[in-house]
C-alpha cells in the first residue's frame, strides 16, 4: 500500500465526515443513506423532501467527480448475487435503523454505544462472509 492510494481514501472519508457534520449542524438531520433512501419510498412522508435533495446531490457530486476525471469502477457482481445482496442490505439496514453511514459515521461519531455495537456486528459479519466466499 502506497501513500498515493491511501491519501484519496483519507480525503474522501474526510468529505463524508464533513457532509454529515454540516447536514446535522445546519438542518438537524442525520446523514444515514439507508434511512434517506427508505424515506423516498413513503410518499407524503412527514419528514419532508430534504432526503430527495440529498440523494439528488449525491448523484450530482458523483457525476462531478467523474467529469473531474475520477474513474467509475466496473461492478462485476453476477446479477443473482446482486439481488441477494440488495435484499439483505435493505432488510438489515431497516431492522438495525442504519448502515455504514448512519451507524458507522454519524453514530460512532456521536459515540453512541448502540451504533458502536451495530457497526462491530455488521463489520464482523461482512468480514466472515467475504472471507468465506472470496
Amino acid at each position: 500500500m502506497t501513500l498515493n492510494s491511501l491519501l484519496p481514501a483519507l480525503l474522501g472519508g474526510a468529505l463524508l465526515g464533513l457532509s454529515a457534520v454540516a447536514l446535522l449542524l445546519y438542518t438537524g438531520r442525520i446523514a444515514g443513506i439507508s434511512g434517506i433512501v427508505a424515506s423516498l419510498l413513503s410518499k407524503g412522508s412527514l419528514r419532508g423532501p430534504w432526503q430527495l435533495w440529498f440523494a439528488g446531490g449525491m448523484l450530482l457530486g458523483g457525476s462531478m467527480a467523474v467529469l473531474a476525471g475520477v474513474p467509475l469502477p466496473a461492478v462485476t457482481v453476477p446479477l443473482p448475487i446482486a439481488v441477494i445482496a440488495g435484499v439483505l442490505v435493505g432488510i438489515g439496514s431497516r431492522m438495525a435503523n442504519g448502515c455504514t453511514s448512519g451507524h458507522g459515521i454519524c453514530g460512532i461519531g456521536r459515540l453512541s454505544l448502540r451504533s458502536i455495537v451495530a457497526t462491530t456486528v455488521f463489520m464482523l459479519c461482512a468480514m466472515i462472509t467475504a472471507t468465506l466466499i472470496h
Binding site: L16, G61, G62, V77, A85, L88, M95, A130
Partner: protein
Amino acid sequence: MNAKLIALLCGVVFGLGMMISGMVNPNNVLGFLTLSASWNPSLAFVMGGALAVFIPAYQWLIKPRVDASKTALTGQPLQLPANKQIDGKLLAGASLFGIGWGVAGICPGPGLTMLISGQPPVWVFFVSMLAAMFAYQRLIEPLSRATKSSA
C-alpha cells in the same frame, strides 16, 4: 440558507467523498472485508478520515447545541436518534446487513452513487434493496407489531 439547498450541497459533498475515497469500488470494499495476504486497508482510512472530522466537530459544534437549544443553525430541531436499545432486532439487522455487504461489497451509499454508472448489477442491487425496504416497512414491521400487541 434554505434547508433543501443545504441538503443538496451536503449530498454533493457526500457523492464526491464516495467517489474520491474509492468506497464506490466493490473491489476495494471486498479487499478490506476479505482477510487474506493481499488485504487492502483503504476502507479503514475512509472511516478514519470521516471520523477524524465528525468526532471533534460534533463535540465542539453540535454537542453544545444538543445540551442547550436542541436546534440546528437553521432553527430546526436537532433530530438525533432517541433509541438507545441494544436488542435482538439491532443485532439481527446488523448481521443481515453485514452478510449482504460481504456478499457484494456494496452498501447503500455506494449503491446510490454508482447508479450514475448505469451498470446493470448496481441497478439490480439498488432496486432489490428498495423492494426489500418497502416490503419490510409495509409488511414485516406492521405484522410484527400486530403480533406483539395481540400477544
